[in-house]
Symmetry: C2
Subunit: 346 residues, 2 copies
């Protein structure tokens, strides 16, 4: 089969690789039909984080179940399914708590499972990991494109909103206008926020934030975004969603958080500067820091119902579509900021 393989910074190639096979009775083999390139894929692509050369990439799979192990109960061959960016058993203490990212049996889309930017993936713990798309929508291309972000960015934006404590009537600030930040705007609106201030560095993305329900947008980059947000919010918001993961965006987040408020953060801390957090910024005003890697599996059913019901649609974050051969071009386009997020159809 063919799959995208990482060969070093700036070098992702589509090549022939061994097809994954079932090894455990709880595995399923999924033929990937849709996947995506993630902002976090750019970290190894840009050389900002380490990744083994020769490893398969991609962690946002959607496809058709091709084969299941004998213990798999919830899906069967022919089902349209998607899976979160981490594999989880669905049965341990942490999965039961909705913290699937801390699953004691957790695994990732890599190694012998294959990466999601390839023709097939093996899914360990298929009953826990895979989410079925109901048959009525299973071949509806428009619906599927709206569902695909539930594998990662939509669930992650939702986690930011939940972690920040956004509720009906809230005033919140979303720091970051990448795919996660934009999904965060959708999530905040869905949770009933009355005021949503989106902070970013790109006019076109802030225009999408506006379309997604932001009541105010703040274009940063001149060093005055904190001042602008404090002005718009009359001194800061109780709920701030940090959707980038850089030290500078965390600084912005805590600076616009009202004393006693909460920063919900989902941006994977990355880069040298992000290793340390200026704790005193949080301490003096009792700002809570809540969040982490998003347990998107926990949110899948709830968000899927709204996507299929037509009240939630993150599909506009896909501003470019490629086929499997186009994956290297997709990485380039995202790295060069030509594309916000790339949809891959196989």
């Amino acid at each position: 089969m063919r799959a995208a393989v990482f060969h070093g910074p700036g070098d992702v190639r589509v090549e022939e690789v061994p097809k994954p096979e079932l090894t455990e009775p709880t595995d399923a083999l999924v033929r990937v039909t849709h996947t995506a390139i993630c902002g976090s894929d750019l970290w190894f692509y840009n050389g900002d984080s380490d990744r083994e050369q020769g490893s398969r990439v991609g962690h946002e799979p959607m496809g058709i179940v091709e084969e299941v192990g004998e213990d798999v109960r919830r899906v069967e061959p022919g089902d349209r399914v998607f899976a979160p960016f981490v594999i989880s058993c669905g049965q341990c203490e942490f999965c039961r708590k909705g913290l699937h990212t801390s699953c004691v049996n957790g695994d990732s889309w890599s190694g012998e499972n294959g990466g999601a930017q390839g023709e097939y993936v093996r899914t360990p713990h298929a009953d826990g990991t895979l989410v079925r798309v109901p048959d009525r929508y299973a071949d509806d291309e428009d619906a599927l494109e709206s569902v695909l972000p539930l594998t990662d960015v939509m669930g992650t934006g939702h986690h930011a909103a939940v972690s920040a404590g956004v509720e009906p009537g809230s005033t919140c600030v979303v720091v970051g206008d990448g795919a996660v930040g934009l999904c965060g705007v959708l999530a905040a609106r869905r949770l009933g926020a009355r005021r949503i201030v989106a902070v970013g560095h790109h006019e076109d993305r802030l225009a999408l934030a506006d379309e997604f329900g932001a009541t105010d947008t703040v274009l940063g980059g001149e060093g005055d975004e904190v001042e602008q947000v404090l002005d718009v919010t009359d001194g800061g918001a109780d709920h701030v969603m940090e959707c980038v993961g850089a030290a500078s965006s965390m600084d912005t987040a805590v600076s616009v958080c009202r004393p006693g408020g909460t920063v919900g953060y989902v941006g994977v801390p990355h880069g040298v500067d992000a290793a340390g957090l200026e704790l005193y910024d949080f301490f003096g005003d009792n700002v809570t820091l809540r969040g982490g890697v998003a347990p998107v599996r926990a949110y899948a059913e709830e968000l899927l119902a709204d996507v299929l019901g037509g009240t939630l649609d993150p599909a506009p974050i896909f501003t470019k579509t490629v086929d499997l051969d186009g994956v290297p071009e997709g990485y380039r386009a995202m790295a060069d900021r030509e594309a916000l997020k790339v949809l891959v159809t196989l």
Copy 2:
């Protein structure tokens, strides 16, 4: 009047200083009868933090109201009162939220207000700041000694417990066996924790933790305290109280926190190493960081009722008593770890 004055690391002297005077109609003048030396006073005493030379020190005042401004309504001359380590108006948005430490009219025990380790302090915003001890207990020396920790360490330990989300039945870990950590044990027990694991470095203090209600004590210092706590808690606790403020104690706290749990922190981040927090330790397992400088004024009435009712008694944290002239000796004894916390009676 006479008061303790800071002259540089290791050098606190009791000397003649100007007596504070009322300047605003909302001020009260308090004749200090009891105060204490705080672990945080040791930072400037030991040269770990900067403080202006010649400044008066102490921030845990209890005494008798001597004079009040014409707008003061809640206290009158002759009342026995105590005050938290920060001054707050009691009326602004943040005081109303119970976040008196972010009071927009906030002030500190320094400058022209005087320090609490002296014969008199001026209390701005007396109606917001001062807490009356009911007349029945106003001259009960034993009661007063138990009340005094409400000015700081008992309220701070309580804030750690509240921030960590301790509730009836909880399993919690208290990191730190200083006065705040020990008060944290009392607070956790008071909130109904079923299992309280106290982690410290001093056998005598852990013995006090045991007396205060810790169900388990872990003596660290050999580098294996995390392992010991994980063993005792079967993999960590959902509620961890960080009561030190050093980078190493925060590391311990997050390491013994169960995925999805909360670290409630109240130790003022100090020392070079504490400037940065290893955010990734929190991120991967969605550990919440909540807390900050404790709004002890918010907790004063609630805790006072229990102290006076005899169900809460932090007085054993005072292991040494000095008079005003003995304040320099009190600092030395705390710096040399001879005393856990020093009571000053005037």
